[in-house]
C-alpha cells in the first residue's frame, strides 16, 4: 500500500508550484506601474490626505479670514480645542447630532429598512415593486430637490401635509425642526438599509425558519431565535455605515438652515457656519473638523475591522 519512499521526493519535485502572485503579465515593471498609479494617488494625497493632516495643524492656529489674524495667524496651541469643548453651541450641536443620528439612523432607518425587507419576503409582487420604487426614489433623487420637496410639503400655509391634517398655519420647520429633520432623514435613507437587509435575509436558510415554525414558534420568536442571530453581522455593519453617513450629513442645512435659533444645528452645519460664514473662524472651525474626523475614524475602523473579520 505504501509507496516506496524513494519515489516521493521525485513526485514532490515534479509538482511545480506556480507562484500565484506572478501576475505582472504585461511586463509593466515596478516603475511603470508606479507611474500608472501615481496620478490617482497624487490627487488623493492632495485632496484627502493633506486636508486631513492640515486640519490638525490648522486647529492649532487662531486663523480667520477677516481681521488681523488673517495676515499673521498665531499659534495658539490647544486653546481652540479647549474653547471648542466648552463652547455651548458646540456641545449643543454635538448633542443635536447625536439625537439626529440616534433616532433617524440607528433606530429609524435600521428598523424601517428591516421591516420593509422582512415584509418583502412574502409580499405580492406588485406591492413590492411599488414600495421599492418609492423608497428608492427618496434615496436617489438629488439632495437639493428632496429638501425642497419637503419644504413644499411642510409649508405653513399651502403645504400638502397641513392640508391633509387640517392643521393649516402650523410651521413645522420652525416649531419642530429636529423632528422634521429626523423624519426627513428616515425617509431619505431607509432605502440603503432596506436593500442591505433584503440581501441579508436571503441568507437565512428557510429550513431553519421552518423548524422553528414546526416547533410552534410565533413570528417574533422566529425573528429572535433564527433571523437576528443569523444576520447579526449585517445589522452591525449596516448600523455603522449609516451612523457614519448621518453623522456627516449636510442636508439639514438645506431644510432648516440650522435654525431657528440653532435649534436644529447639527455638527456639519455648525462647522460650516463657524468656519466659512460670518467671522470665518477657520482655526476654530478646524478644531471641530478634527473632532469630526476623529469620530469618523473611530467608526470607520470599527467597521473595517468587522468587515475583515467576517470575511473569514
Amino acid at each position: 500500500m505504501a509507496a516506496p519512499p524513494t519515489s516521493r521526493p521525485v513526485e514532490a519535485a515534479a509538482v511545480v508550484t506556480r507562484p500565484r502572485e506572478d501576475s505582472d503579465v504585461a511586463g509593466l515593471g515596478r516603475w511603470r506601474a508606479g507611474a500608472f498609479a501615481a496620478p490617482a494617488l497624487v490627487l488623493v494625497a492632495i485632496f484627502l490626505v493633506f486636508p486631513a493632516l492640515w486640519t490638525l495643524y490648522l486647529g492649532l492656529l487662531d486663523y480667520s479670514l477677516g481681521g488681523t489674524t488673517a495676515q499673521s495667524p498665531q499659534y495658539v496651541g490647544l486653546r481652540n480645542f479647549s474653547d471648542a469643548l466648552s463652547d455651548p453651541l458646540f456641545t449643543k450641536a454635538l448633542y443635536l447630532t447625536l439625537l439626529y443620528v440616534g433616532f433617524s439612523a440607528v433606530l429609524g432607518q435600521n428598523i424601517l429598512g428591516f421591516l420593509l425587507a422582512w415584509y418583502f419576503r412574502t409580499a405580492p409582487g406588485w406591492v413590492r415593486v411599488i414600495v421599492n420604487v418609492l423608497v428608492l426614489l427618496a434615496w436617489i433623487l438629488p439632495g437639493s430637490v428632496v429638501a425642497f420637496l419637503w419644504q413644499a410639503l411642510l409649508d405653513r400655509n399651502n403645504g400638502t401635509l397641513n392640508e391633509i391634517l387640517h392643521t393649516t398655519g402650523t410651521a413645522w420647520t420652525i416649531d419642530h425642526p429636529m423632528i422634521v429633520i429626523i423624519i426627513f432623514n428616515i425617509w431619505r435613507g431607509t432605502a440603503f438599509s432596506m436593500l442591505l437587509y433584503s440581501a441579508a435575509l436571503s441568507t437565512v436558510p428557510s429550513s431553519h425558519l421552518e423548524v422553528a415554525r414546526l416547533a410552534g414558534a410565533r413570528p417574533w420568536q422566529q425573528l429572535r431565535d433564527v433571523v437576528l442571530p443569523t444576520i447579526r453581522r449585517h445589522v452591525l455593519t449596516n448600523t455603522l455605515l449609516i451612523t457614519l453617513w448621518t453623522f456627516n450629513d449636510f442636508t439639514p442645512f438645506l431644510i432648516t438652515g440650522g435654525g431657528p435659533d440653532n435649534e436644529s444645528q447639527t455638527l456639519p452645519v455648525f462647522i460650516y457656519k463657524t468656519a466659512l460664514l460670518g467671522k470665518q473662524q477657520l482655526g476654530y472651525g478646524s478644531a471641530f473638523s478634527l473632532l469630526l474626523l476623529v469620530a469618523n475614524l473611530i467608526i470607520a475602523v470599527i467597521y473595517i475591522r468587522f468587515l475583515r473579520g467576517s470575511k473569514r
Partner: protein, 278 residues
C-alpha cells in the same frame, strides 16, 4: 395554547400589516407627489395638486437661460469628474492589480479608510482654505479636482476588484505574441474592463450630479453654480418662489439620475461595494 383563536390572531396581524404597508407607502409617496404633479399643473404652488394640466411651466423653463446654464455646469462638473476618475482609476487599478508594489495591500486598506473618514463635511474647512490660498476659489476645474480626489479611492477599489477577475491569460498570450505593455493595455485590457469603467463612471456621475456641499463652498459666481446649488439658492431668494420654474427645473434636474440608476440596475444589479454613497 394561547387565549386567542389562531384564525383571529392571523386576521388581526394581517390587517395590521396592511395598515402598516399603506402608511409606509403614503409616507414615502407624499413628498414625491409634488415633483410629479406640480410641473404639469396650471397653477403651480406649494400644494401637490393638479388643477388643470398644462405644459406651460416647461415653456417658462426653456426660456430661462440661467437654469439651463446651471444644468450645463452640472454636466460639466459631473462629466469632467467622471472622465478624470475613470482614467486615473483605470490606470491605478490595473497597476495595483497586476504588479506587486511594496506596501500595496496596506495602501489599499488606507485608501478605504480614508474615503470613509475624510468626508466633504469633515474636510470642508481645509479644502476651502487650501483653494483660497492657491487662488483656486471659484474655479470649476478645481471643483472637479476636489471631487475626483474624494471619489478616487472607492473607484480604484471597485475597478481593482474588476480587473482582478479578468483572467491573466489574455495578457500573457499577447505578451508571448510580442506586444508591448502599452499595446497590451490599449488593445487587450481596456476593452475588457469597459463594463467596470462604465459602472464607475456612472457611479461618479450620480455622485457629482447631486453633490451640493463642495460646489457650494468653492464657487461664488452664480453663473458657475451647478443645478444642485441653484436648486437651493432659487428657493432662498426670499419671497414667493417661482413655482413654475422650480418644479420643472427640479424634475428636469432629477430625471437623469433616475435614468442612470435604472440603466445600471438593469445591467449590473445593485452591488454595495461596501456601501459607497455620498
Amino acid at each position: 395554547m394561547s387565549g386567542i383563536d389562531p384564525v383571529v390572531r392571523q386576521t388581526l396581524s394581517r390587517i395590521g400589516v396592511y395598515v402598516g404597508v399603506c402608511v409606509a407607502t403614503v409616507f414615502f409617496a407624499l413628498p414625491l407627489l409634488w415633483l410629479v404633479l406640480t410641473p404639469f399643473s396650471k397653477h403651480p404652488s406649494y400644494r401637490a395638486t393638479l388643477n388643470g394640466v398644462s405644459l406651460d411651466n416647461f415653456d417658462k423653463l426653456f426660456h430661462n437661460p440661467q437654469l439651463w446654464r446651471s444644468l450645463r455646469n452640472s454636466i460639466y462638473l459631473a462629466g469632467g469628474t467622471a472622465i478624470l476618475v475613470i482614467v486615473l482609476a483605470a490606470l491605478a487599478s490595473y497597476a495595483l492589480s497586476r504588479v506587486r508594489i511594496p506596501g500595496r495591500d496596506q495602501l489599499l486598506y488606507a485608501l478605504l479608510l480614508l474615503s470613509s473618514i475624510v468626508t466633504g463635511t469633515a474636510a470642508m474647512v481645509p479644502i476651502f482654505l487650501m483653494l483660497y490660498q492657491l487662488n483656486l476659489l471659484d474655479k470649476q476645474f478645481a471643483v472637479v479636482l476636489v471631487l475626483s480626489g474624494g471619489l478616487l479611492p472607492a473607484a480604484v477599489f471597485m475597478l481593482k476588484d474588476f480587473v482582478d477577475s479578468i483572467p491573466r491569460s489574455y495578457e500573457e498570450s499577447a505578451r508571448v505574441f510580442g506586444a508591448s505593455p502599452s499595446q497590451i493595455l490599449r488593445h487587450i485590457v481596456l476593452p475588457l474592463i469597459r463594463p467596470g469603467m462604465a459602472t464607475v463612471g456612472v457611479w461618479a456621475l450620480v455622485q457629482v450630479w447631486g453633490n451640493f456641499l463642495i460646489p457650494f463652498i468653492l464657487l461664488s459666481d452664480e453663473k458657475k453654480y451647478p443645478a444642485a446649488v441653484v436648486m437651493y439658492t432659487f428657493y432662498d431668494t426670499g419671497g414667493q418662489p417661482n413655482f413654475a420654474l422650480i418644479s420643472t427645473f427640479a424634475l428636469v434636474y432629477s430625471v437623469p439620475v433616475v435614468v442612470l440608476y435604472l440603466i445600471v440596475n438593469k445591467r449590473y444589479g445593485f452591488s454595495f461595494q461596501g456601501g459607497i454613497k455620498g
